[in-house]
């Protein structure tokens, strides 16, 4: 970051981790299907998608834990697989990180200190205190939440130029998760680096993200700035017949509700969308990232029970 607090804009960024036409198959199951993507330097990117969409596979390929069936993976301009100099600049925090049986918390930190050149021991200590982690306890004796916290401490204190957090919060309560987000943001502001974060708790992290890559069934469904993505769709609600009229000829992403009142998420077409919706007596609202991701990846499945729906719509129609 510059002295006056401005950050280089996304346009000035350059890709540090890329995939070119990568396909990854596991025994007949295609986890990634001809995917090309570029993660920009010093940007926090959210890697979103449903279970099985390919998020973990993508991160493991970047981190050099897997070799693609076909296509190229490049990190810092080189293939990461078994490449020491690239791997030392990357940290992957996994949901199910395994540690040697006899390890204590402190041993895990010492191991990380040797692995990562930018390791900040003082920062690690303060994070241990933040998360109430008992340094001397054996890792296998830790609760699920504490185990996740160990991964988070290592991921943050490693200060790796690229850090992947693959759903790092399992078992963490809301307070500890907020602690994670706050420490991540504060440290990122001081030591900007490339962060890729996969999570299902989209609402919690939406404001942390500058960029979003949305995966669906092994393909990329969206790859855009978080604000741009949210601005790409609107939610309209009101009388069902008017919703029909409005949705005709538009890209309808999701439709909810039955009978008199409905709500639809449509892709923004032009500046006149709002005027046209107004003219039909419809309420227009921006969509949240979570709502948009659900709309894009639910494949027509009804995920909101009718009762919740009508309650929402009552509020809208008031």
């Amino acid at each position: 970051m510059n002295v006056d607090g401005t950050l280089p804009s996304a346009e000035e960024s350059r890709p540090v981790a890329t995939m070119h036409e990568v396909t990854m198959r596991f025994r007949g199951h295609t986890a990634l299907d001809n995917v090309s993507v570029a993660f920009q330097e010093n940007v926090i990117t959210g890697l979103l998608g449903r279970n099985g969409a390919g998020k973990t596979t993508m991160m493991q390929l970047m981190a050099g834990h897997l070799v693609p069936t076909s296509g190229q993976v490049e990190v810092f301009g080189a293939n990461p697989y078994e490449n020491e100099s690239v791997l030392a600049r990357m940290s992957l925090v996994k949901e199910n990180q395994k540690y040697p049986e006899y390890f204590r918390v402190t041993d895990a930190l010492s191991a990380a200190a040797m692995l990562f050149p930018n390791w900040d021991a003082a920062f690690a200590q303060s994070l241990l205190a933040d998360f109430d982690l008992p340094e001397k306890r054996r890792i296998k004796k830790l609760s699920r939440g504490m185990l996740s916290a160990v991964g988070i401490v290592i991921g943050l204190a490693s200060r790796a130029p690229i850090t992947f957090f693959d759903e790092p919060y399992l078992g963490l309560d809301a307070v500890a998760r907020q602690m994670f987000y706050d420490r991540l943001l504060a440290d990122y502001a001081e030591n900007s680096r490339t962060i890729v974060l996969s999570t299902h708790l989209i609402e919690e992290i939406a404001d942390l993200l500058e960029h979003v890559v949305l995966l669906d069934r092994g393909r990329i469904l969206a790859d855009a700035g978080a604000d741009d993505l949210r601005a790409s769709a609107i939610s309209v609600s009101g009388r069902s017949d008017q919703i029909d009229r409005f949705a005709a000829g538009r890209d309808l992403l999701r439709r909810e509700g039955a009978g008199q009142l409905s709500r639809a998420v449509v892709r923004v077409q032009s500046r006149d969308d709002r005027t046209e919706a107004d003219a039909l007596g419809l309420e227009v609202a921006p969509v949240s990232l979570q709502h948009l991701v659900v709309s894009l990846t639910s494949h027509g499945e009804a995920t909101i029970p009718p009762s919740a729906d009508s309650a929402d719509l009552e509020e809208v129609s008031r």
């Binding site: 006056d4 401005t6 943001l185 404001d207 942390l208 978080a226």
Partner: protein, 120 residues
């Protein structure tokens, strides 16, 4: 931030504008830094920077190299002027639409406004 309230960078810009309009943030005073805004609102620093940069582009803030962002002279007047221009579109139109729905006529509306304005 309110995730349903439009682009976050715009919300950041709006809040700073509000502070300038109600004179919480005086002209030539230093505006909050990107880092402060990001930490306070728990948002990405780049998003906060985008909000700040928008205000710089609008001439509301200006950059003192190596020091930070400051409120431009005349910023308050400029914002007031713009907001007056937007007032009818943003507030009057929905008000009239709702009044129309409820069958509240111009006369009744006027007397409602006068009643509100009267000192209690």
């Amino acid at each position: 931030m309110n995730e349903d309230g439009g682009p976050i960078f715009r919300q950041i810009a709006d809040q700073i504008e509000n502070a300038i309009v109600d004179a919480t943030l005086a002209e030539e005073a230093q505006a909050p830094s990107t880092t402060e805004l990001a930490a306070f609102h728990r948002i990405n620093p780049a998003t906060a920077a985008k909000g700040i940069n928008q205000l710089v582009a609008d001439g509301v803030l200006y950059k003192k190299r190596g020091v930070g962002m400051f409120v431009a002279s005349g910023a308050r007047e400029q914002l007031l002027k713009r907001r007056r221009n937007e007032f009818a579109q943003l507030y009057l139109r929905p008000l009239l639409a709702e009044a129309d729905k409820l069958g509240i006529g111009a006369q009744e509306l006027t007397s409602m406004i006068n009643d509100r304005k009267d000192p209690r």
